[in-house]
Every structure is written in structure tokens, then in C-alpha cells.
């Protein structure tokens, strides 16, 4: 999935850098109740990307973490240097579709993907970032695509980070309804802007041998007539950064 992001950006003549010091934004720690650990990872993130012109992440929830929660984490630390660094960095952090549509002004990125696809708006993308039509605009511009509507699209897939294991039964009940909606849509691919939600959805589709795969939006955008991106046939996500 990371490779797909690089391919799309380079196709659009963006110079891509990958600071190797980066690890994790700290979202899992923060959302599970481990604020001090999340604070240290936030500091690391801010230092790692201090000199980057723009920062892009193909994960709406990670961007929501940085933009939505780093300011409070910084404030809690009481460190004015960190508070200033966060305030300086966050306007330069973009979710992939925000970067493509708002910053680069592109909806057609030259992709070709001759498959029936349905789009699941993830909760953080939908409600925290307000991605709205951006992902759909990008998908509609893909040549060969058959984009079909997902019933009950705005409902959570049940991932929720550690919720998926702490409340596995409830998580799976939510996931089952999401999978049913995906199957009802008739799509062969379910796409989204968050790898974590796709891991949840894709994990169930694979377990159920549903014949439908989960793919990150970036992988669809990276596909072209010359080159079909998208990883293994059973699932399109899972590569860690």
C-alpha cells in the first residue's frame, strides 16, 4: 500500500521522501488510554517530519490523530517547544485524498481499474476529517471502474483499534453487518482510506472466503493499463510502513 502511494505521487511529479526514522503516530496508545506513551510518539513524529514540506498519510485515522489530538497532547506536556512545533507542523499534514484533491487539484490521476468497487467511508475520514466527496471524486475518475453504492455506508465497521480485541464480540457483530452490506452491493472490491479498517473488513472477507477483497484507495489509484497494483489476490492490505 505504501508503494502504491509512492507510485501515484510520482506519477503526479511529486518528489517523495520517506524519513526512515518514522514509526507510529501513537494513535493506538492514545485511544487505549496510554497518554504519556502517545505523547512521546507524538514528539518523535514532530521531530521526524520537522523539515518536510508536506506530510501525507494514507490513513485518515492517523491524520485525525495528528491534527485532532497532538495539540492537546502537546498542551498536556506543558512543553512550549512541542506546542509550537505541533502548531507549525499540523497544517502541513494531509490525508492522501486531501493532498490529491485540495493541494494538487487532481481527481484524475491516470488510473485504470476495470472492477466493480464499493467505497466504505471510514469513521475518522468521514466525521473527524470530513473527507466528504474527495475519495469518491478520485474513484469516479478511474477508467474502467464500476463504482457501486455501499448500503449503510456511514456505519462503523467495528474496528476501533483495541476495541476489536477488547470487545471482540461486539466488534464482530458490527463487522458482520458491514460485510453483509458489501456483499449486497455486488462489488468485488471494497475500498477505503484507512488500512486498519481494511484489515478488519479484509480479515473477515478472507476468513469467509467471500470472493471479495479489501483494497486501499491508493492501490486502485496506482493501478494502470500497464501495471495492476494491489498485492495478493485475497487481501490488498497489510504491509506495515
Amino acid at each position: 500500500m505504501g508503494r502504491a502511494v509512492v507510485e501515484v505521487l510520482e506519477r503526479l511529479r511529486v518528489t517523495v521522501d520517506f524519513p526512515a526514522e518514522q514509526t507510529c503516530c501513537g494513535q493506538m496508545h492514545f485511544n487505549t488510554g496510554y497518554g504519556p506513551e502517545a505523547g512521546r510518539l507524538a514528539r518523535r513524529f514532530v521531530e521526524t517530519f520537522a523539515t518536510s514540506e508536506l506530510v501525507v498519510s494514507p490513513s485518515a485515522s492517523c491524520v485525525a490523530m495528528v491534527r485532532g489530538h497532538y495539540p492537546r497532547l502537546a498542551a498536556l506536556s506543558g512543553d512550549q517547544g512541542l506546542i509550537d512545533a505541533v502548531a507549525e507542523l499540523t497544517p502541513r499534514v494531509f490525508e492522501l485524498t486531501e493532498l490529491l484533491v485540495d493541494r494538487l487539484g487532481r481527481t484524475d490521476v491516470g488510473a485504470y481499474f476495470p472492477h466493480r468497487v464499493t467505497y466504505h467511508p471510514t469513521c475518522h475520514g468521514l466525521r473527524m476529517l470530513g473527507l466528504g466527496e474527495r475519495p469518491l471524486a478520485l474513484l469516479r475518475a478511474v477508467r474502467g471502474i464500476d463504482l457501486v453504492e455501499l448500503p449503510g455506508a456511514a456505519e462503523c465497521c467495528g474496528f476501533g483499534g483495541t476495541f476489536a480485541v477488547k470487545n471482540a464480540d461486539t466488534s464482530v457483530a458490527m463487522l458482520t453487518d458491514k460485510v453483509r452490506a458489501i456483499l449486497d452491493s455486488g462489488a468485488e472490491v471494497c475500498t477505503a482510506t484507512d488500512s486498519s479498517c481494511l484489515m478488519q473488513i479484509g480479515g473477515a472477507l478472507a476468513r469467509q472466503r467471500a470472493g471479495v477483497r479489501a483494497m486501499h484507495l491508493a492501490e486502485i489509484l496506482a493501478s494502470s493499463e500497464h501495471h495492476a497494483a494491489g498485492g495478493s489476490p485475497s487481501v490488498g492490505t497489510g504491509a506495515l510502513p
Binding site: 505504501g2 496508545h29 488510554g33 496510554y34 518523535r44 470487545n167 471482540a168 479484509g202 473477515a204 487481501v235
Partner: protein
């Protein structure tokens, strides 16, 4: 809370007995999820009200401004709660009512029981009051041989079934009409043998049962949706008219109200009387809005007692992130849109207040140590925040309370150890890269075509029981990038 000098000095607070922790959410949810009738009832009810609410809200062009006003007014109340409470007390007293102050549920129940016994009554009629549910008033009254009859149709159903409410506004949401019919046939002598499950027929039986009691009862007990500090007016909004009966027919009216239900002025009601019905029942206006100010000779009750109860609310107020939960107007919109509530129902939360608002309010009212699983009973999807008419950022408070749970449970739990270890790994690039390689080695016997299908140990089994897990890629992005450069 400040007190004026004229009130008699109070005895020091007696030490409270340790509160038993609530039953944990995950196993209760597991049981509820397996109840197919419950799932069908809840799904139908929540989806119906969701669609209606969306339509009712869409009609109001300035809905977002109304929400902001609803937030701001309550925020002001909370900042000056001491002043407004004293203003309310003076206004109610001036209008011929009596104000009582209750520190906790026990004190509240004692005040109410004493009032009922002082009038020599052995039965009271109650309009739906979640606050008295919170204090366990009915059981407390029963210990004094006082019967409390719930008169809200759904509350009556719950009382007859010997259950507790599973929804703030629709306490019997977990029951369908066929179940209600059977219950009425079993427990109400007024029910004809050929009772159908038509809602109208069911309501008629309840009406016959309740009407006699309303006319006989000497004491009514109600909750309150709002109290206007400047006028001393108490407001109850409802659909059925039972609260109107409870608050007007008996000679004595006792209203139990949480101290956060205040609004400063009469004019402020206009904001909440628009926000509440549309959010709660998707109505433009609720059928009955009862407003009363003290007592009036020849009209309504001859005695009015207002019991103002803290019961943990001031400790919520002391939490700078959590205090926004006190803005809640008990509309239930957050329950109706919640994907967790929709599937588990209210009983799984094990508290008077279920759903997203219960998951934040309950731990703060009873202490996070007594409800440590509730802040985790959410996927943080944010639908509740979006729906909340007073803009309570429920996900923010959930995460805030999770920090408190982690602090309370200490650094030695296996989860805390694992999280600290992960934080160390994420804190060092070399460790992180090494962990990826180790993961690849460890998963080798389990991974097939990029996926792990076998049951993983410990909490990860919660994942692999129902889903495959993507394996660490044979070549990570980072390795691909490194070789490309």
C-alpha cells in the same frame, strides 16, 4: 457547591460503604449479542428512529446554531452552578415550594420516604424519572412499605416484568409488542382474554389500569427535564400525558432533579424545547410540555417539594474534560445512532445510563474503578458526537476516561506491559525494524499466502476467532524503499 448561612448546619458526611463494581461490559455484551429477539427488536427500533430524527433535524435550517446555543447555555450553567442553584432555590421557595438538597442517592431516597410517610401514604404514582432509577428510589420506598407505581407506559412494562430500563427514553425498547401483550395478559387484571398486540389495544389496557391509581394517589413523584433558575419553573416534556397526571392530580408533588438540569432563564427554554423533541423522538414538538412554578391555590398540587440531588455530579464537574457530560439533556440521540448500543442494547452497560452517554457519565458518577470497562465500550466512531444536540464530545471524554482507567489499574497489567513495550519499540527505528523481522520469523508456521488464519494466543484470539490477520509482508515497504533509493 456553596451554601447560604441560613440553612441549618449539616452533619459531616458519613463514610460511604464501598460501592460494588458494575458487571463488566464485554461478557454482558456477548450474552446480549446472542439474543436474536433482542437484536431484531433493537435493530428495528434504532433504525426507525434514526431515519425519523435525520428528517426532523433536516427541517431546521439553523440546527447547528441551535446546537451551539444549547452547548453554550449549559456551559454557562455549569460554570456558575452554585449561583444558579441558589437562585432556583429562592425562586421555588418564593413560589410556595420547598427545596431539599441531597448529597447522594441514599439521602435523596430518605428525604422522599420521609415526605411520603409524613403524609401517611402507602402508595405513590411516578412519572418516568431516570434520576430516581439512579438512586434506586422504588426499592428504598418498598423497604418502608410504600408502593411506587410507574405510570409511563414503558416504565410500567419494565416494572411489571421486574426488569430495569434499557434505554433512556424508550425504557422497554428491548421488548416488542408480542412480548408486551404476554406480559399484560399475565399481570394486569384489566387485560381481556382476547387482547391483541395492537399498540392501541395495549395502551388502552394500561390506561384502564393507571387511571384509577391516578385518581386515588395522594402523592406524585416526577423527574424534571429543566428548571428555570430565574422563575423557579420546572419543566417536564413527554408523549403520553402520564406525567401531566402525576404532576397535577395528587395533592403532593415531589420532583427529584439532578443539579445539572438548570437553565438560567425562561427564554433559554426555547432552545431546548426545539433541540430535545427532535433529537429524542424526532418530533417537531412533544405532545405534552408541563411547566409549573411552586403551588397555586385551587390548581394542581397543594404541596410541592423539589429534591436537588448531587450523587456524584460535583465530581463530574471537577473534571475539566469530563464535565461536558453534565450538559446532557437525556435525549437518547446518541444511543439511537450508536452501532454498539444497536447491537448490545442497554442492559449490557449495567448502569442506569446506557449507550455512549452512559459509557462516559456512569464511570464519572460511580468512579472509573467501579466501571472500568465502560469507557472501552465504543469503537470511537463519532456518530454520537455528531448527533448530540448539546455537542458533547463523547469520543473525547471516552479517551480521557481510558487514561484514568489505565492509571487506576496500575502499570503491572499485561496490557500495560505490552503497551509500554510497544511504545519502546515504536520509539527506536532499529528496534522497530528488528520487530518486523522477528514478526516475520515467528509467523512463518502460521502465515499462508500473506494471511494468518490460525488462532493466536491471548487477547489476539479475539481477532483471529472471526477474522484472518494480514501477515507481515515478505518485503516491507521500508525494505523496498531502502533498496530503491
Amino acid at each position: 457547591m456553596s451554601h447560604d448561612g441560613e440553612r441549618p448546619p449539616r452533619s459531616p458526611r458519613p463514610p460511604r460503604p464501598p460501592r460494588p463494581p458494575l458487571a463488566p461490559f464485554p461478557p454482558a455484551a456477548r450474552l446480549a449479542l446472542a439474543d436474536t429477539q433482542l437484536r431484531a427488536n433493537l435493530r428495528h427500533a434504532t433504525h426507525t428512529i434514526r431515519e425519523k430524527r435525520d428528517a426532523a433535524v433536516a427541517e431546521v435550517a439553523d440546527w447547528q446554531e441551535l446546537r451551539e446555543a444549547g452547548r453554550a447555555i449549559k456551559e454557562r450553567v455549569l460554570r456558575h452552578l452554585d449561583t444558579y442553584l441558589l437562585e432556583l432555590e429562592a425562586a421555588v421557595t418564593g413560589a410556595g415550594g420547598t427545596v431539599h438538597w441531597a448529597r447522594d442517592g441514599d439521602e435523596c431516597n430518605r428525604i422522599v420516604a420521609d415526605l411520603v410517610r409524613a403524609h401517611g401514604a402507602d402508595e405513590v404514582v411516578k412519572a418516568k424519572s431516570l434520576t430516581t432509577e439512579e438512586t434506586g428510589l422504588n426499592a428504598a420506598l418498598a423497604r418502608h412499605d410504600i408502593r411506587a407505581l410507574e405510570t409511563d407506559l414503558a416504565e410500567l412494562i419494565i416494572q411489571l416484568a421486574g426488569e430495569t430500563p434499557s434505554h433512556i427514553l424508550v425504557p422497554a425498547i428491548h421488548k416488542n409488542r408480542a412480548e408486551v401483550r404476554e406480559l399484560f395478559l399475565r399481570s394486569l387484571p384489566q387485560a381481556p382474554a382476547d387482547l391483541s398486540d395492537d399498540p392501541r389495544a395495549l395502551a388502552e389496557v394500561a390506561r384502564l389500569h393507571l387511571r384509577e391509581r391516578f385518581l386515588e394517589a395522594g402523592i406524585g413523584i416526577s423527574g424534571a427535564n429543566f428548571a428555570v433558575a430565574e422563575t423557579g419553573t420546572v419543566a417536564v416534556v413527554e408523549s403520553e400525558g402520564n406525567a401531566r397526571m402525576c404532576t397535577t392530580l395528587p395533592d403532593v408533588l415531589i420532583t427529584v432533579m439532578g443539579i445539572e438540569k438548570l437553565i438560567p432563564t425562561w427564554e433559554d427554554l426555547e432552545v431546548y424545547l426545539q433541540l430535545l423533541p427532535r433529537s429524542a423522538t424526532a418530533e417537531r414538538m412533544n405532545p405534552y410540555t408541563s411547566l409549573w412554578t411552586g403551588v397555586h391555590p385551587g390548581d394542581g398540587p397543594r404541596e410541592f417539594h423539589l429534591v436537588l440531588i448531587d450523587n456524584g455530579r460535583t465530581s463530574v464537574l471537577a473534571d475539566d474534560v469530563g464535565r461536558q457530560a453534565l450538559r446532557c439533556i437525556r435525549c437518547s440521540a446518541c444511543l439511537n445512532v450508536c452501532p454498539v448500543y444497536e447491537r448490545t442494547g442497554g442492559h449490557a452497560y449495567g448502569s442506569t445510563y446506557p449507550g455512549p452517554i452512559g459509557a462516559i457519565l456512569t464511570p464519572m458518577l460511580v468512579g472509573v474503578r467501579n466501571a472500568p470497562t465502560l469507557p472501552y465500550a465504543s469503537s470511537l466512531c463519532g456518530a454520537c458526537y455528531e448527533a448530540c444536540p448539546v455537542k458533547i464530545n463523547i469520543p473525547e471524554v471516552l479517551v480521557h476516561l481510558r487514561q484514568q482507567v489505565v492509571s487506576a489499574e496500575g502499570p503491572r497489567t499485561s496490557e500495560a506491559l505490552a503497551m509500554r513495550l510497544l511504545a519502546v519499540v515504536f520509539g527506536h527505528r532499529r528496534l522497530y525494524e528488528r520487530a518486523q523481522r522477528i514478526g516475520r520469523l515467528l509467523q512463518a508456521p502460521l502465515a499462508r499466502r500473506g494471511m494468518i488464519r490460525a488462532r493466536l494466543p491471548g487477547p489476539l484470539a479475539g481477532w483471529t476467532d472471526a477474522r484472518d490477520l494480514p501477515a507481515v509482508a515478505s518485503r516491507s515497504f521500508r525494505e523496498w524503499w531502502g533498496r530503491r533509493a
